[in-house]
């Protein structure tokens, strides 16, 4: 009997876990972002920093992982398909918008996918139905103390 109760409890728990929300962000204010130049642990990793962001604050988007088992799975999409989603554009996001996404992302209740500045601000944008890679990233926002 206790096994049955345990099983029911486990099933209840697993079904009550909420799926994380997803945010798609197009980094469109490309010239404000700088790709970090230091070597990473894995060659495919990268990060970008947005500087001069509200009172000298900065924001980092980081595509990185602990080990290969933890490597995020990217998505692919054309701009046409992507525009059907609830898209956010980095140029119109304020500091507090990023801060809220950073909190949700750290709680694992939000997955943030970006279309990087090096992709969006390249000729790829003008190729018909180009399949863009959307990378799942961490957000790191500087704060005062």
């Amino acid at each position: 009997m206790w096994k049955l109760i345990l099983l029911i409890e486990l099933m209840r728990y697993s079904f009550s876990l909420e799926e994380p929300q997803i945010a798609f962000i197009v980094i469109d204010d490309c010239i404000l972002w700088e790709k970090t130049s230091y070597p990473k642990r894995f060659p495919e990793e990268f990060s970008f920093v947005k500087k001069e962001f509200k009172n000298n604050h900065w924001l980092m988007i980081s595509y990185s992982w602990l080990d290969q088992t933890d490597k995020p799975i990217n998505l692919k999409s054309t701009l046409r398909e992507l525009s059907k989603q609830k898209l956010k554009y980095s140029s119109s996001l304020e500091y507090d918008d990023w801060a809220r996404m950073e909190i949700e992302s750290s709680k694992k209740t939000l997955k943030v996918y970006v279309l990087t500045p090096s992709d969006f601000c390249s000729q790829k944008r003008f190729e018909f139905d180009h399949q863009f890679e959307l990378y799942e990233v961490f957000l790191i926002l500087s704060k005062d103390e």
């Binding site: 130049s37 230091y38 509200k54 009172n55 750290s106 790191i140 704060k143 103390e145």
Partner: protein
């Protein structure tokens, strides 16, 4: 005042050890902290670290004598914490919006915020502080022109200039000791993660912990100097190292007390 040994003689044979000042900060830890088991765990561990023991005593009772309040409540999103002088008390607030922050980063914020009242108290006490033997003269060298309309912001800037130029190494060392001795599992995990050719292949050093503090010193002359140093690849610039280390904080844990 607190003394080591017995200054009147006896077994020490008349040796009079140097006077060690009592910690000036008596910190009342508010229930907004003690009721949160993880935050309480971090504060309790911090209270055991040598750096903190030298400047502060923590108490949970609201007895007279306290001069500092440590609490948590929502603050604007652009800050992890703040220190203000309120009704004669130094009031340190940790931003509860960021309760989910990593243990080490919350400890860093509390440590940083505790240095603010220690500076204020030291300046009132003729510069006596275990943090700096030449507190007054070092501080006076950094006093800028009073240009801001906001006196609190101005004092904050002076503190940050002083910390960046005089206390950064001590603060970094204190945070490293805390991590190593009180969040050992987290420290070991980070050490493994940073063990790659352009990370810390010889083990984590104090540089990593100094980099944890740089973010709050932006706008200071010291930060601009750090930021402007260039190197020839493959040598990383200080700014590259700062960014590299900040990027890795996402892999720290927030499990204190669990």
């Amino acid at each position: 005042m607190r003394y080591y040994g017995n200054a009147s003689g006896g077994s020490l044979g008349g040796y009079s050890p140097p006077e060690v000042p009592e910690p000036k900060l008596i910190v009342y830890v508010d229930t907004s902290i003690t009721n949160d088991s993880r935050l309480n765990c971090i504060v309790n561990k911090l209270a055991m670290s040598d750096f903190i023991k030298n400047i502060a005593e923590f108490t949970n009772t609201s007895e007279a004598g306290r001069n500092t309040l440590l609490k948590a409540s929502p603050l604007p999103m652009d800050r992890n914490g703040q220190t203000q002088r309120v009704s004669g008390l130094y009031e340190i607030t940790i931003n509860s919006n960021y309760f989910n922050n990593k243990d080490l980063l919350i400890a860093r914020t509390i440590l940083h915020e505790l240095v603010h009242p220690e500076i204020m108290a030291a300046l009132k006490a003729n510069g006596k502080t275990p943090l700096d033997d030449n507190c007054i003269s070092n501080y006076n060298q950094l006093i800028g022109i009073y240009s801001s309309k906001d006196p609190l912001a101005w004092a904050n800037d002076q503190h940050h200039k002083y910390m960046a130029e005089n206390l950064l190494y001590k603060m970094g060392s204190a945070l490293m000791d805390f991590h190593k001795n009180h969040l050992t599992e987290d420290f070991m995990k980070l050490q493994t993660l940073m063990n790659y050719p352009v990370g810390y292949p010889k083990g984590l050093s104090v540089d990593f912990y100094i980099n944890m503090f740089w973010g709050s010193f932006k706008g200071t002359h010291a930060f601009h100097v750090m930021e402007s140093i260039t190197t020839i690849p493959p040598i990383l610039s200080p700014l590259d190292k700062f960014r590299r280390d900040i990027e890795k904080t996402q892999y720290l844990t927030n499990l204190c007390g669990n």
